[in-house]
C-alpha cells in the first residue's frame, strides 16, 4: 500500500499489524499490496518526499503524555514548550505559538485555524493509545493538501475501531502532580460488520515552579471524549463515522502589551477552550482496483485565550478518486469545498473586522505517478484552489523517484506552496503597546490588518536518499533549498496625533504587509539501527539555515525574530531495549542548539521509560522526562504570553486491557 497516491504518502496504512490484517475483509486482503519486506523504509521506495512515520509502538515506547512530546521524535520537527499548555511546533523553521507553515490533520480533518493561522495543540488531546501512526512530511505538501502545507504536513491517523476491541483503562500520576486517566471500550455490532469504540479521558497538569519559587500559573485541566465506528457496508464499501468533544481550561501568565513597556507587570489570566467535531468517510473499491473516497466533517470550537474570545465553525466536503490507468499511470484526483465561519467579538485590545466572517474555499487537484522506466517514477500534479482572500492559487509539484535496487531510492522534488492570509492579517485592529510618554500624552502602537495582504509563497527544491543498508541498518537523508517570497511583515506608518478627553494620543499604526523574503537550506538525517534482536537505536540530526531579507522599504523587525526561532543544529538519539520479553527500557536524548535570535540557550533533554508487562493484560511503566535539569527554558516569552520552563518530572502509569 505504500502507494503514494497523494503527494506523497497519503496513501499509507503501513502499520497493519497482523491482527489488523486478520480483521480485514477478504476483498480488502485481495487489495493489499505485498512488499518484499514489511518495513516502512521499503514501502517508501516510490515516495519522492521526506517522510517520517511514527508508529503506535514508537508512541507507546516514547513515554510521551501529549502529542507535542510524541512529535519530538521526528527529526526535523522543532517542538518547544512555551508554558505547560502552549507549544511552538514547526518544521524547517519559523517557529512560533502560531507556526503558520505546517498543516496538521487528524484523520483527514484540518486542525489548522484560519483566524490566526496556526494550531492550538492543547485542543488535540486524543488518547495516544488510539493513534495508529503519525506521518510527518517535511517540505511542501500543497499539491495534494492545499494551502498552508508549506513547510510540512503532520497527519495523525487513528486506529480503526476494529483494532481497538475490548476495554482499555490507563491511569498515570506524576511528581508534579500531573495526572491522566483514560477509559476506552470497543465492541462489534450487526453480526460483525460494524465495530465501534468510545473513550473518555481526563487530564490535569500542575502549575510550573519558577526558579524564584513562585508559581508559573500555567496549570490546566482537560476532559476529552469521543467515538469511532467502522462499518463494512458491502464487500467493496466501508464507512467510518467518528467524533470528539473536549473542554479545556487553565491559566496563563501574560503581560498587557506585546512589546516591552514600563508599568506592565505580569498577571495570571484564565483561558478556556471547548469544541467538537463529527466526521464521516465512505470508501468504495471498484473491481478494477480503483478506489473512491468521500468525506464530510463538521468542526467547531470556542476559545477564550489571552482575553480574546473567538469561535470557529467549519464544514468540509472532500472527494478523491484513485485510478490505475494502464500499467504506467497511477492517478489520483479530487475536489473539495470548505465553508468556515469565525466570530471574534470586538474586544478591548484586539478586534477583527468584520467580527463575523464566513469564507468559502474550493479546490481541485490531480496527480499522476508515472512509471517512466522499470524503477523510475515521475509524479506530476497540481492543486488549483480558490480562497476568499487571494482568489485562485496554483500549487504544482514534480517529483522523481529512482530505485536502482530494492534497497535504495534516490529522489528529487520541486514544488510551489502558499500560505493563505489569516483573518488577522487581513482585518485585525490590535493595540499592542500603550504607555504615557509625557503629561496627558500617550503613545499607542496599533497593528492593522491589510485587506491586500498576499499569500506567502515558497518555491522549494529537495533531494533525498533512502537505503536499507543491511538487514539491520537503514538511513534516510534529505537536503532542501527553499525560496520564500511575500513573507508577512509589520510596517510602521507615520504617527497620527489625536486629541481626546484624556489628553493627546500619538498613534503609530503598524500595517500588515508582505515585504519579507527568505532563502533557507538544510538537511535532515535519520538512521535506524537494529543492534540486536533486543536493542534498536535511532539517531537523528537536522541542520537548518534561515536567511531572512527585507524589502529596502520595510521597517519590519518581526521577521528576523521569527526567522531566528530555529536551532541551526539539533541532534537526538532514541534507544529501545527489550531487557526481556516483559521488560523494556527506553531512552531518548535531545540536544537543541541555541536559537540564532538568542531567545533560548541551547539545551539537552533526556527522557527515560521502564515498562514491565504483567501477564497479557497489564503494563506498568515509570517515565522520567526532562531528567537532566530541574527546569529548562525551551522557548521563552512570545509577545504577551510569558513562557515557563519545562519541568523535570517522573510519573508512573498503569495500563490494563480487558
Amino acid at each position: 500500500m505504500f502507494r503514494c497516491v497523494g503527494v506523497l504518502v497519503l496513501a499509507t496504512v503501513t502499520a497493519w499489524g497482523q491482527a489488523g490484517l486478520g480483521d480485514a475483509s477478504l476483498e480488502q486482503l485481495l487489495n493489499v499490496e505485498v512488499t518484499s519486506v514489511s518495513k516502512k523504509e521499503q514501502r517508501l521506495s516510490r515516495t519522492a518526499a521526506a517522510v517520517f512515520v511514527i508508529g503506535h509502538e514508537d508512541i507507546r515506547r516514547s513515554g510521551a503524555q501529549n502529542l507535542p512530546d510524541v512529535l519530538r521524535m521526528a527529526p526535523g520537527v522543532e517542538v518547544a514548550q512555551i508554558d505547560a499548555n502552549a507549544w511552538a511546533i514547526t518544521i524547517r523553521g519559523f517557529d512560533s505559538r502560531f507556526s503558520n507553515k505546517v498543516l496538521v490533520l487528524v484523520d483527514g480533518r484540518s486542525v489548522y485555524n484560519t483566524g490566526f493561522s496556526g494550531v492550538y495543540w492543547d485542543q488535540l488531546d486524543m488518547p495516544l493509545e488510539d493513534i495508529e501512526r503519525i506521518e510527518v512530511i517535511r517540505g511542501p505538501g500543497a499539491t495534494v493538501w492545499g494551502a498552508n502545507a508549506v513547510n510540512g504536513v503532520i497527519d495523525i491517523i487513528t486506529k480503526s475501531s476494529k483494532a481497538t476491541q475490548g476495554g482499555l483503562a490507563s491511569a498515570s500520576v506524576s511528581s508534579d502532580p500531573d495526572s491522566q486517566d483514560m477509559l476506552r471500550y470497543g465492541g462489534r455490532v450487526a453480526s460483525g460488520t460494524g465495530a465501534y469504540r468510545a473513550f473518555a479521558k481526563y487530564s490535569r497538569t500542575a502549575d510550573a515552579n519558577l526558579p524564584s519559587g513562585a508559581s508559573g500559573f500555567d496549570g490546566w485541566s482537560r476532559i476529552h471524549g469521543g467515538f469511532r465506528s467502522d462499518w463494512d457496508l458491502s464487500p467493496r464499501d466501508s464507512l467510518t463515522v467518528q467524533g470528539d468533544l473536549f473542554s479545556n481550561r487553565g491559566s496563563q501568565t501574560r503581560l498587557q502589551w506585546f512589546y516591552p513597556a514600563p508599568n506592565d507587570p505580569p498577571f495570571a489570566q484564565t483561558w478556556a477552550a471547548a469544541g467538537g467535531n463529527l466526521l464521516s468517510r465512505w470508501n468504495h473499491t471498484s473491481a478494477g482496483g480503483s478506489d473512491m473516497s468521500l468525506q464530510a466533517y463538521y468542526d467547531t470550537y470556542r476559545r477564550d485565550d489571552l482575553g480574546l474570545p473567538e469561535s470557529e465553525k467549519t464544514f468540509d466536503l472532500d472527494y478523491r478518486q484513485h485510478i490505475a490507468a494502464g500499467s504506467r499511470h497511477d492517478i489520483v484526483f479530487g475536489a473539495g469545498y470548505r465553508i468556515s465561519n469565525t466570530i471574534v467579538p470586538p474586544g478591548y485590545q484586539i478586534s477583527l473586522t468584520p467580527a463575523n466572517r464566513t469564507d468559502s474555499l474550493y479546490n481541485t487537484f490531480i496527480q499522476d505517478e508515472i512509471r517512466v522506466a522499470d524503477r523510475l517514477w515521475l509524479t506530476l500534479g497540481t492543486k488549483v484552489e480558490h480562497n476568499a482572500y487571494t482568489g485562485f492559487e496554483y500549487e504544482p509539484s514534480a517529483r522523481l523517484a529512482w530505485a536502482p535496487t530494492e534497497r535504495q531510492t534516490f529522489w528529487a522534488a520541486a514544488s510551489r506552496a502558499i500560505r493563505q492570509p489569516s483573518r488577522e492579517e487581513i482585518g485585525v485592529i490590535a493595540e499592542v503597546l500603550d504607555y504615557p510618554i509625557g503629561p496627558y500624552t500617550m503613545l499607542e502602537t496599533r497593528v492593522l490588518g491589510n485587506p491586500r495582504f498576499h499569500s506567502e509563497e515558497l518555491r522549494d527544491y529537495e533531494i533525498g536518499y533512502r537505503t536499507q543498508w543491511t538487514k539491520n541498518v537503514s538511513l534516510d537523508v534529505t537536503g532542501f533549498l527553499s525560496f520564500y517570497r511575500h513573507l508577512g511583515t509589520v510596517e510602521p506608518q507615520s504617527p497620527i496625533v489625536q486629541a481626546g478627553p484624556a489628553g493627546i494620543v500619538v498613534i503609530v499604526p503598524v500595517l500588515s504587509d508582505n515585504k519579507g523574503s527568505s532563502t533557507n537550506y538544510g538537511t535532515e538525517i535519520a538512521l535506524n539501527w537494529k543492534v540486536s534482536t533486543r536493542w534498536r537505536v535511532e539517531p537523528g540530526y537536522s541542520f537548518l539555515r534561515v536567511n531572512t531579507h527585507l524589502d529596502p522599504a520595510s521597517g519590519d523587525t518581526s521577521l528576523i525574530t521569527l526567522g531566528g526561532n530555529a536551532p541551526p543544529h539539533t541532534f537526538q538519539v532514541r534507544s529501545l531495549l527489550n531487557l526481556s520479553s516483559r521488560l523494556q527500557w527506553d531512552h531518548t536524548l535531545y540536544w537543541m542548539q541555541k536559537m540564532p535570535n538568542g531567545l533560548t540557550p541551547s539545551y539537552a533533554r533526556l527522557d527515560s521509560r521502564i515498562a514491565w508487562k504483567l501477564g497479557e493484560s497489564t503494563e506498568i511503566s515509570l517515565v522520567g522526562q526532562n531528567l537532566l535539569r530541574p527546569r529548562t527554558v525551551q522557548f521563552g516569552d512570545t509577545f504577551n504570553l510569558l513562557g515557563t520552563p519545562a519541568q523535570r518530572s517522573v510519573f508512573g502509569k498503569i495500563t490494563w486491557s480487558f
Binding site: W16, L21, L26, E33, R281
Partner: protein, 165 residues
C-alpha cells in the same frame, strides 16, 4: 482534507497468513458440528515465521479456537481443516496431494500450477497482489463447500488430467 486512498501493504506471508485465517469463515467442512479446535497446518518449509500464529492469536470461529500445526512431508496431516503446502518439487507435491485425496482438508499453496496439480486454493501473486485461484472440483470431491462470495473473488481453475503436462 486529504485522506488515504490507496491499498494497504504488508509482507507477503503476513498477508497470506491472514488469508489462511480468513478461509475458515468461507468453507464448510463435513465435521461442522465438531467443537474441537480448527487446525491450520503448514506442511514442508514454513514461510510464515511468527505471522500465522500472530494472526490467529486470541481468535476463534463459531466458538472453535484455532490451532497451528507444522508437518514434515510424509507426516499425517489430514486431521487439519486447512493445510498450507510450502514449496515442494512438482513430483513431491502431487504425491502429497494425492495422499490427501478424499480427506476434508482445504489444501492451499502458492507454487505455480498448484491447482493444476490437484490443490484447491492457490495464493499466487499477480503483480504485487494476491490472486486467488480455486479448483472447485477438488474441493467438492473432498466434501468441502466453498462460500459463493469466496468463489466470486477467485479465478476458477481445473486440475490437469492425470499425467498431464
Amino acid at each position: 482534507m486529504g485522506f488515504r486512498l490507496a491499498a494497504q501493504s504488508a509482507g507477503e506471508y503476513e498477508l497470506k497468513a491472514a488469508f489462511l485465517y480468513k478461509f475458515a469463515s468461507f468453507v464448510e467442512w463435513p465435521d461442522a458440528l465438531s467443537n474441537g479446535p480448527l487446525c491450520i497446518g503448514v506442511l514442508g518449509q514454513d514461510p510464515f515465521g511468527p505471522a500465522l500464529d500472530g494472526v490467529v492469536k486470541g481468535k476463534s470461529y463459531q466458538g472453535r479456537a484455532f490451532e497451528i500445526r507444522r508437518f514434515k512431508p510424509g507426516q499425517e496431516s489430514s486431521k487439519c481443516q486447512i493445510l498450507f503446502i510450502g514449496a515442494l518439487e512438482p513430483k513431491k507435491l502431487r504425491e502429497v496431494l494425492s495422499r490427501l485425496q478424499g480427506a476434508a482438508v482445504l489444501t492451499v499453496g502458492d507454487v505455480p500450477g498448484f491447482c493444476e496439480s490437484g490443490g484447491m486454493v492457490d495464493l499466487g501473486l499477480s503483480g504485487n497482489k494476491v490472486q486467488l485461484e480455486i479448483n472447485v472440483e477438488a474441493a467438492e470431491k473432498a466434501g468441502l463447500h466453498l462460500n459463493s462470495r469466496l468463489l466470486s473473488l477467485a479465478k476458477i481453475v481445473r486440475a490437469a488430467p492425470e499425467g498431464g503436462r
